[in-house]
C-alpha cells in the first residue's frame, strides 16, 4: 500500500484559486470604494469568525464574549497612541498579545465552567469590559472614543493587509488542526472527561486554543482601529454587533470546519448589503431596513435545517436544493 505523504500544509487547488483571485481581483476590476470597504469587512469577519471557530467549533468552548478580545486589541492599538503618541500600527503586534493576556486571565475564571455556563461567563465578561472601558475616561476617553487620522485614503493597502491577516489566520487554524493540539481540541470538544483519561491535559489545551483564538480576535480589533480611525466602547465591545454576529457567522458557515467562518462571513456581508441597498435599488426603500431581520431569519433556518452550516452540511444542502428544483419541474 502506498503511503500518502503528509505535507505540513495541504493546500488544495480550490484554495490556491481563491487566494490568487483575491490578490488579482483588485487589479482587474475597478471596484468602487464602497465595494472595497465591503471586501475589507468580509476579511475582518473571516479573521474574527475563524478565531471564534477554533475555540468554539473545534474545541467546544462556546464563547459569547469574543467582543472582549476584539475590543481589547482595538484599545491596545489606540491607548498608546492617545497617551504617548505611539503609532497604532504597533497594534498589529500588541493587539493580539493584549487579547491573549486577557484571554488567559478570563480562562482562569471561566474555564471552570462548561457548556451554557461557559457561554454566560464569557458573555458577562465581555459586557463588563464594555462598561469599564466606557467609564474609565482617564484611560480610554470613555464614550467619546478615540480618533485617529488614517494613514492612507485609498482602501487598497488595507485590503491587502486584511487579506494577509485572514490568510495567516486560516493557515494557523489549518496547521493547528493537523497537529497533536488539533486532535486534543477535538477530543476535548467531544468528551472532556474521556479526553482526560487519555492523558490529555484538558486545562492546558483549552488555554492553548484560547490563546490562538484570542490572538486573532485581538489582531482583528487592532486592524479595525487602524482602518476605521475611530473606536468607542459601544462599537468594539458590542454584544450584538461583534460577539453575537461572530457566532452567527460561524454557525451559518459551519462550526468545526476550516472554511466555514469564511463562507459565513461572505454570506453575512452579502445578505446584509443586498438588503441594505434594497436589492440594488430595485425594491422599495423600506426593504433596506430589513437587512438585520433577514439575516436573523437566515440564522434560524440554518440552525433548523443545516445544523452543520453551509460548509459542514454542503452535501445535504445540495440535496435539498436539487429536491426542490425537481419538485418545481414536476409541477
Amino acid at each position: 500500500m502506498e503511503e500518502k505523504k503528509t505535507k505540513l500544509l495541504d493546500v488544495s487547488k480550490t484554495e490556491w484559486i481563491i487566494l490568487a483571485s483575491a490578490i488579482v481581483m483588485p487589479f482587474i476590476f475597478d471596484f468602487s470604494p464602497y465595494i472595497q470597504g465591503l471586501l475589507i469587512f468580509i476579511l475582518l469577519w473571516v479573521i474574527l469568525g475563524s478565531s471564534w471557530n477554533l475555540l468554539a467549533g473545534f474545541t467546544g468552548q462556546v464563547s459569547f464574549g469574543h467582543a472582549a478580545f476584539f475590543g481589547m486589541g482595538a484599545y491596545a492599538a489606540a491607548i498608546p497612541m492617545l497617551h504617548f503618541k505611539i503609532s497604532p500600527w504597533w497594534g498589529l503586534l500588541t493587539g493580539g498579545l493584549a487579547a491573549v493576556i486577557l484571554g488567559y486571565l478570563l480562562g482562569v475564571l471561566v474555564f471552570r465552567l462548561r457548556g451554557p455556563y461557559l457561554a454566560l461567563g464569557t458573555l458577562a465578561s465581555g459586557e463588563i469590559l464594555r462598561l469599564v472601558f466606557g467609564e474609565e475616561e482617564w484611560l480610554t476617553n470613555g464614550h467619546v472614543g478615540i480618533l485617529y487620522m488614517t494613514t492612507w485614503v485609498s482602501k487598497y493597502p488595507y485590503y491587502f493587509i486584511a487579506l494577509a491577516l485572514a490568510v495567516c489566520a486560516l493557515i494557523s487554524v489549518k496547521l493547528v488542526m493537523k497537529s497533536k493540539a488539533g486532535f486534543y481540541f477535538l477530543s476535548i470538544r467531544e468528551d472532556e472527561d474521556a479526553a482526560e483519561a487519555l492523558g490529555i491535559d484538558t486545562k492546558k489545551y483549552k488555554n492553548v486554543s484560547m490563546a490562538i483564538s484570542t490572538f486573532w480576535a485581538g489582531t482583528a480589533g487592532a486592524f479595525y482601529m487602524i482602518y476605521m480611525g475611530f473606536i468607542d466602547p459601544e462599537v468594539v465591545f458590542a454584544l450584538h454587533n461583534i460577539s453575537i454576529i461572530t457566532i452567527l457567522v460561524g454557525i451559518i458557515g459551519g462550526v468545526g470546519t476550516i472554511w466555514g467562518p469564511a463562507i459565513g462571513a461572505l454570506i453575512m456581508v452579502f445578505v446584509q448589503e443586498l438588503f441594505r441597498s434594497a436589492i440594488f435599488g430595485i425594491a422599495p426603500q423600506w426593504v433596506s431596513g430589513l437587512h438585520a431581520l433577514i439575516f436573523g431569519v437566515l440564522v434560524i433556518i440554518v440552525i433548523l435545517y443545516l445544523p452543520g452550516g453551509v460548509v459542514g452540511d454542503w452535501k445535504l444542502l445540495l440535496k435539498k436544493l436539487k429536491l426542490s428544483k425537481s419538485l418545481e419541474v414536476s409541477k
Binding site: 458577562a124 467609564e135 438585520a292
Partner: protein, 291 residues
C-alpha cells in the same frame, strides 16, 4: 442613612419585578435545560403590546396584563413548538444549538420591533406615572408599588399552580428527571413546550408592569436578557424561590451600585456579582437560603 434606606427600598421594589422575570427564566431553564437568550426580547414584545394597547385603545397598562399574558403565552408556545423543540432530535456539533436558536429568535424579534416601531424611545404617561408615596423621608414610586403588589400576586398564583395542580406537578417532575417523568406517563414533550409558554407569560407580565416606569426601544430586549440570566444564576439554577432572592438582590445591587459607585456602573455591578457567583458559588444563593 436616608440615602441608604431610599436605595434599599427602591432596589426592593424594582427587584420584585426582576423576580418574576427570573422565575420565568428559571422555569424554562429547569425544564428545557437551556438558557433562554430571547427572554428579554419576549419581555420587549410584551412591552410593545402594552404600549400599543395604551396608545391606540387607551387600555391601562396594569389591566393589559390580561391581554399580554395569554397573547405572549400562545406566541411563545409557537416558538417553542416549531423552532426549539425540533432541535432536540437533531445531531449538531455544538450541544448548545437550542441556546443559539434563542439567540436567532431574539435577534429577529428585536429587528421586527425596529422595522415596525423604529428605534425611537417610547414611554407612556398615565395620570399616576409621576406620583409618589412617602414613608418618612423615603419616597416610593406609586406605579412601582402597584407593580410590586401585582408581582406578589402573580408569584403566589404560580406557586399555587406548581404545588397544587397536576400540571404543576408534571412540570416539577419533568424538571427534576425527564426520563422518570416520561415513565410516569407524563408527556415530557408537551410539558416542555408548555413551560416555555408559561415562563414567557410571566416575563410578559413583567413587561407590562415595567412600561409605566421604564422606557421602551427595541434594544431593551437584550438588556433584559442579560438581567434575566444574572437573576437566574444568582438564585441558583432551577430554584423558583432562589429566583425571587436573585431578583431582589439584583434590584438592590443595581440601585446601590448606582448610588455609591457611579450610575455608569449600575449594570456592571450586577454582572460582576453574577460572574463571581457563577464561577465560585455554582449553587447560587440557594446554598445560603437552604430552600
Amino acid at each position: 442613612m436616608d440615602i441608604f434606606l431610599q436605595s434599599l427600598v427602591s432596589g426592593l421594589l424594582i427587584g420584585g419585578l426582576y423576580a418574576i422575570i427570573g422565575i420565568g427564566m428559571t422555569l424554562i431553564m429547569g425544564v428545557l435545560k437551556i438558557i433562554n437568550l430571547a427572554h428579554g426580547q419576549i419581555l420587549m414584545v410584551a412591552m410593545y403590546i402594552t404600549w400599543v394597547l395604551w396608545n391606540f385603545l387607551g387600555i391601562d397598562p396594569y389591566l393589559s396584563i390580561f391581554i399580554t399574558i395569554p397573547l405572549v403565552f400562545v406566541f411563545a408556545e409557537g416558538l417553542s413548538k416549531y423552532l426549539l423543540h425540533p432541535l432536540i432530535e437533531k445531531d449538531s456539533i455544538l450541544p448548545e444549538n437550542q441556546v443559539l436558536m434563542t439567540v436567532g429568535i431574539g435577534m429577529v424579534l428585536v429587528e421586527l420591533a425596529r422595522s415596525i416601531f423604529t428605534s425611537d424611545y417610547r414611554s407612556i404617561q398615565t395620570s399616576y406615572t409621576e406620583k409618589s408615596l412617602y414613608i418618612g423621608k423615603i419616597s416610593l414610586s406609586f406605579p412601582l408599588v402597584i407593580a410590586f403588589i401585582i408581582a406578589i400576586f402573580l408569584t403566589i398564583g404560580l406557586f399555587y399552580l406548581l404545588s397544587k395542580t397536576d400540571l404543576g406537578r408534571s412540570i416539577r417532575a419533568t424538571s427534576q428527571d425527564k426520563f422518570s417523568a416520561t415513565l410516569m406517563g407524563i408527556s415530557a414533550g408537551k410539558i416542555t413546550i408548555l413551560t416555555y409558554g408559561l415562563g414567557s407569560a410571566l416575563d410578559a407580565a413583567a413587561g407590562s408592569l415595567l412600561l409605566p416606569v421604564y422606557y421602551l426601544y427595541p434594544d431593551v430586549g437584550p438588556l433584559f436578557t442579560v438581567k434575566a440570566f444574572v437573576i437566574t444564576i444568582l438564585g441558583g439554577l432551577g430554584s423558583t424561590v432562589g429566583a425571587i432572592a436573585g431578583g431582589l438582590v439584583l434590584g438592590i445591587a443595581e440601585t446601590f451600585g448606582a448610588t455609591y459607585i457611579s450610575s455608569g456602573y449600575r449594570d456592571a455591578t450586577g454582572l460582576v456579582i453574577f460572574l463571581i457567583v457563577l464561577v465560585f458559588f455554582p449553587g447560587g444563593l440557594k446554598r445560603f437560603t437552604k430552600v
